[in-house]
Symmetry: none
Subunit: 212 residues, 4 copies
DNA sequence: GATGAATGAGGATTCATTCAT
DNA sequence: TATGAATGAATCCTCATTCAT
C-alpha cells in the first residue's frame, strides 16, 4: 500500500508522550486555576512549547474535552456496576460516596460536572446526558422498589451532589460532603413502615409516570 | 470637637452619589459577568470615570466588600427572626427556603457565599462567621430539642445550601433547589415513629404547601 | 454647567500630543512595512505604549482612516483649484503631476489609493468616491471642450496614475512617472485628422479591432 | 561517467511528482492569498508534508523562483516573436495587450513583475533583466523607425504596464487596462504638425455622451 | 474629587523553520 | 525521502492600575 493512502501511520512516540504530558498538565492547571487558566501555563507545566499544545488541541474546548470526557465516562460506568446491588437505596448512596472519592482523586471531575451545568458545549451536553442517565438508572430502581420518593429527578440529584462537592478547598471537605450525602439519602428514603403504609395508601408507584 | 479636626466632614454630595452609582453598577455587572468582570465595565455602567471607581474602592476586594457585606447581614438577620419560631426544624427549613428566595432576588448573594468558601479575604471571614452563626443558632435549637441529628455542623449546612444554589443558571433551578432542601431537612430529622406519626397526624403542611 | 453634562471637555494636552505622534508614526510605519505592519511597531516608534495606541484607535481600520482620509481630501481639493485653469488638458496634466509630487511627499497617499482599489472599507469607498469625482470633473471639461477622447472614465485614469506611482521604491521613480504621465496625456488628446489619416493609410488595424 | 559520481541520478518518481504538486499548489495559493500566504497552506493544498515542501524549496524565495521564472520567460519569448512584425509600434501595442492576457490567465505573473520592481532577489534581477530586454528590443525598433519618442526607456514602459495591471481585483479590470494601454501607445507615437492643426479644427463635444 | 489618558503585563494565536522518525 | 511534530518568536488585544490634569 502507498504511503499516501495510509491515513493512520504509527503515531510518533514523542507526540504521544507530549499529548499525555499536556493532558496531565491541563488537569492540574485547570484544577488549580479554573477553566480560565492560561494555556501557556499548561504548556509550561507540560514542558512543551505552546505551539505543541495548540497542535494537539487547537482550541481550549478541545483540551477540555480530552481532559474531562473520560472522567465522566468512568463515573457513569460506576453506576452500571452498582445496578446489580441488592439494596437500591444503598446502591445510590454508594454511588454518591464513590463519586466523592472520585472527585477527591481525579479532581478534574468537578470541572467536568460544572461544565455540564453551566455551559452548553458539546462536551457539556454529553456529560449531562451521561451522568443523568447514570444517576437516573439508580434512582429509578429505588423508586420502583417503593423505597424512595418519586419527586426527585436525576438532575436534582446531580445538582445536589455537584453542589456539595463544589467547594472542595477546605481541608476535611470530604467528610463534610459524605455526612451531607448521608443526610440527603436519608431524606430520600420513604420513611418507616407506618409512614410507608400511609404513603402507600395513596396512589404509589408514581415512578413510572416520570418521563424517564 | 472642631470642624477642622473632624475627619469625616460633610461628604461631598456628588461623591456620595457616585459611590452609590458604582455600587449599583457593580452589583449588576458582577452578576452578569461574574466576579472577574472588568472594572472598567463597572465604571462605564455607573457613568463615572475609572479613576472615580478606584478612589472609592481602591481594590477589587473593597468593591466586593461594599457590594456583598450587607446582603450577608440581611440573611443573618433573617435567622434571628426565625429563632422565635415554634418548631425548630421548620424554622431551619424556612430559613433555607427564604435563603433561596434571597439568592434568586439578590443574586450577588451567591458570589458572597462563594467568596466565603473560597477566598480568605476579610469579607470572606466575615461572611463565613456571620452565616455560620446564623445557621448554627437554628441548628442548635433543633438539636437541643432532640429533633435533629447532632452530627451536622453549621458549615456543612452552609455548604449544602450554597452548593445546591450554585448552579443557578438553568431555568427552574429554584424549584429544584427547594425540592432538594426539603429532602435534606427530612434527612436531618431524627427519625422516630412518634415523630412520623405526629407528622402524619398534624396538619404539618409548611413544606407540603409549596407547589412541589 | 455641570461637569457631567460637558461632553467635550478640553482634550488633555498629552492626549493630543500622543494622538499626533501615533499618526506620524503610523504614516511612517505603514509606508515602510505596508498596511500589514505591526501596530506595536507603530506604538514603539511613536514612543507610546501599545495601550495608548489602542485607546486612540481601537481598530487597525480606525488608524488607517485617520492617517489617510485627510490626504485624500487634499488631493481632491487640488482638483477643484485646477478646474478654473484655462486649458483643460493641461489642467489634468498638472493635476497628475502635482499628485506625483504629493505622493512623493506624503507617501501615505499611495496606501490610500491602494486601499481605494483593493478594499471595500468605508474609507476605501470614501476615497474612491472622492478621487473619482476629482478626476472626473477635470476629465469632463476636457472632453466637453473636444480636446480629449471620451472613452476613458475617471476610474481608468485613477488606475493609471495609481499604478504608475505604485512602485515608488527605486530612485528616480518620480521622473519616470512624470515622463509616463506626459506620454499618457498626449495619448488622451484627440488626435488630428491628418494623424488619423496617416494611420488609416497604413494597414495597422490590430488595435482598432478590439472591441473598444 | 560513472553512475556514482553522477550528482543528478534518477530522481525518484515520487519526488518529481511532489515537486510538481507543490509548484501547482504554490501558484494557486500565492495567487489567492498573495505572496505572504502561509507555506503550510501550500503544503496542505499540495497534499504533502510541510517538510517535503522545505526539502524541495529550502526558502520561500526558492519557491517563488520556481513558480515565477518560467512565466517571465514566456513573456520574454513573446517579445521575440513580435520583433518580426511589420509595424513596430503595433508590435509593441500587441505585446502589451498579450501581456495583459497573460496576467489575466497566469496571475502569478503579476507577482513576478511586482517582485522585479520591489525586491532585489536573484529572481527579481533576472525578471527585470529579461523583461527590460524584451520591451527594450521592441521599443528600440520603433524609435529607430522614427515612429516613437525616444525619451522613454524600457523600465518606464514596464512600470506603466505593471502598474496598470496591478490592481486586478475589480471585475472589468482587463478592458480598463487595455483602454489605458491603447491611450498610452498613442501617446508614445511621434506626433506630427499636421495632426496638431487638425485637432483645433474639430469642436466636438462628445463629453455629454458619457453617462456622467 | 472627578476624569480619562498612559502604561505594560498577560494571554491567545499563528506560522516559519528545524528535526526526529 | 517524506512526514508531521516541536518550537518559539511575533503579534494582537484586553485590562488592571497609576497619574496628570
Amino acid at each position: 500500500m502507498d504511503d499516501h493512502s495510509d491515513q493512520t501511520r504509527k503515531p510518533r512516540a514523542d507526540a504521544v508522550r507530549n499529548r499525555e504530558r499536556v493532558l496531565e498538565a491541563a488537569k492540574a492547571v485547570f484544577n488549580a486555576g479554573g477553566p480560565e487558566a492560561s494555556l501557556e501555563a499548561v504548556a509550561k507545566r507540560a514542558g512543551v512549547g505552546i505551539g505543541t499544545l495548540y497542535r494537539h488541541f487547537p482550541t481550549r474546548e478541545d483540551l477540555f474535552e480530552a481532559v474531562y470526557r473520560r472522567e465522566v465516562e468512568q463515573l457513569s460506568e460506576l453506576a452500571e456496576h452498582l445496578r446489580s446491588a441488592k439494596d437500591p437505596v444503598e446502591a445510590l448512596r454508594r454511588w454518591l460516596q464513590s463519586a466523592v472519592e472520585f472527585v477527591a482523586t481525579k479532581k478534574g471531575m468537578l470541572a467536568a460536572l460544572a461544565l455540564a451545568y453551566q455551559s452548553s458545549s458539546e462536551l457539556a451536553v454529553f456529560s449531562m446526558d451521561r451522568l443523568t442517565k447514570a444517576i437516573g438508572s439508580l434512582l429509578e430502581r429505588a423508586v420502583a422498589a417503593g423505597q424512595m420518593r418519586a419527586d426527585i429527578v436525576p438532575e436534582d440529584l446531580l445538582r445536589a451532589f455537584f453542589g456539595m462537592c463544589y467547594m472542595h478547598d477546605k481541608p476535611g471537605w470530604q467528610s463534610s460532603v459524605l455526612r451531607l450525602l448521608d443526610v440527603f439519602v436519608d431524606g430520600l428514603r420513604v420513611q418507616s413502615a407506618a409512614k410507608t403504609r400511609a404513603r402507600v395508601a395513596k396512589p404509589a408507584k408514581p415512578a413510572v409516570k416520570r418521563k424517564r
